[in-house]
Symmetry: C2
Subunit: 402 residues, 2 copies
Amino acid sequence: MEYAARERIPVTPRGAGTGLSGGCVPAAGGIVVSTERLNRIIDIDPADLIAVVEPGVITASLHSASEALGLFYPPDPGSCAFCTLGGNIAENAGGLRGLKYGVTRDYVMALDVVLPDGRTFQAGSRTRKNVTGYDMARLFTGSEGTLGFITGAVLKLIVLPEAKAGFLAAFDTLEAASEAVLAIIKSGITPSTLEIMDSVTLKAVASFSGRNDLDYGALLLIEVDGHEEDVARQSGKLLDALKNSGAKELRQARDAAEQEEIWTARRSALTALARISPSVILEDATVPRKEMTSMVRAIRSVAGKYGLLIGTFGHAGDGNLHPTIITDLRIEENKNKVKAAVGEIFEAALSLGGTLSGEHGIGIMKSSYMESELGAAGVEAMRAVKDAFDPQGIMNPGKIFV
Amino acid sequence: MEYAARERIPVTPRGAGTGLSGGCVPAAGGIVVSTERLNRIIDIDPADLIAVVEPGVITASLHSASEALGLFYPPDPGSCAFCTLGGNIAENAGGLRGLKYGVTRDYVMALDVVLPDGRTFQAGSRTRKNVTGYDMARLFTGSEGTLGFITGAVLKLIVLPEAKAGFLAAFDTLEAASEAVLAIIKSGITPSTLEIMDSVTLKAVASFSGRNDLDYGALLLIEVDGHEEDVARQSGKLLDALKNSGAKELRQARDAAEQEEIWTARRSALTALARISPSVILEDATVPRKEMTSMVRAIRSVAGKYGLLIGTFGHAGDGNLHPTIITDLRIEENKNKVKAAVGEIFEAALSLGGTLSGEHGIGIMKSSYMESELGAAGVEAMRAVKDAFDPQGIMNPGKIFV
């Protein structure tokens, strides 16, 4: 970093390259610094409930190393089998367990940071409480590599829930499924996972995986966890809420294998949709949970208006939808359609009190929309932070800001 | 703020004035802006699990308003009956439930912010996931009024646990109690509260409240919560862990009233200690939980070295201790002793991987120690953020930075 600062060469940090907003793409050229070989889990401490890791550790490796000790690192982005913890931190990655367990940010305790001029410091500490000055650990979390380089992290772990149960609930329409989500929350339980898939996505998954049992208007995929009796209690409340919400079909996974099958189907959604057509544009618009039905309608109306195929799936419990446009961008006309459609999807999300990005970041994909959410003052405040850390603008330029 | 910026007048935000590091003291004179009349709970939404509040709402008012709807706002600083949510946010207040439920930061979703030049923006959003640019909501949380003024907040709520159980466990020494904390965590349960009090504090509380049942070397006060069966299960594991840790006496609160009595005793610790002598210096050194026994020994050794009476109590589950020096600062010699003792307590905490402040903030009390924890680069990075937001230095000057 000292060399790059002296020579004013752009530096782009890179984990596994699985990000969905272009965070690790060296948009202005320069040096790409890979964390590939910073891949050690240095310590997992059951007394302090922390993991000390290097940024290149694959997320799923921390999952399995923790679980072997009866501990749990909840953040699980869809790409957790191959993405890295450093990338997760830089993008503040979410995943399927956000509703009950939060996102990456909620598990970052301390970060070793290299500033754009080569100086280093530790943001945060190994303590569970820390209010010594500004919350730099969280400022760096989600900063998309634009403020400095993360070379190490102390992550919070929790105790692994002893049991879980998985459910499928089918509905005639996406709206009905979306309303059922509210009924579940109102029943007083907090599922560890609460996912939604629409008919476009379900057809794609069915064709991708050779399943013939997914012919529904919409599906909710739900998991509850806790200790044995608690799982039974939550399952009862969940089934009641689903029945009262008009679920057409209700199925509980008989065992761990069938449960895993449910999540495999969900995790294959993007891959399955991407096979349909040469281009896939995955969005990340997120709204307050209560507005999800309105958002679902807005997406459908945009699809109709531009004659675009849009598959919608996502983390319904968080109001975090992934409307995914399936098209062929080699055809010029489609580019304009997609651009207009994406703009209208953002507009709808913002008008419902939502945000441009729930968990994928801004990167190079959404920087031009920042002001529509944050206003000039909000973008300028972020810009001032960027300039304070990186006055030369060498740290991952071209991201977040236009 | 526009007026103050134009005239370069310092502005200090103030809630209820209960902070413990001097955050709301107008150290450089100027204007004090009170949130006293910004005291409305605007909305509590059971579907979105959020509360929309003004900054002057008393924390306990949000507790009771939420609980009336079966919802729960966990942060509960010791002063929750009279402190304000705005102050809690500005200081990132902790409290007794940090171990299981985290601190104020973990419940802040969005903040309405007035910048030092009068411009306004919303940091964060009403969505549970948000990665649109930097995490400004958390940057303002714990910024001690040095970056701008908070005029509104959207706070996350969770579902209220249906049951709880309270326990007292007495030990011969503070070290033994501290080791028992580790045994509890290793047993796989996460108590909602796990507090520690030493013999100095217990004597003070006994004398303050006229109780004669607190004559122990140290006491742990523990609460577990959840639904009925889960509370029973956790209670069993807890009692086993305590018995195996050599607890001299073990008592379970028979009912809610007795449980409340336990917490009243704990909450009166500071008041009780403060009655002993004219001056009370409350510290907030926090260490990784595993190092708590070492920290307890270091505090005792500092007390012996300077001949000071130090009562220690705090949030043992978080490694967040409040060593409290009881003295008379009208005597010049004591000032030097206290200064040296406080310095050595911080040194011990930092050498154990801890932090200067777990939940009280830096304010005017600890600014001179910042560099010992963060190094020059760490303090300069924070300073750069401060200058980016407040180039004129009118926002609560004299806090955090020397």
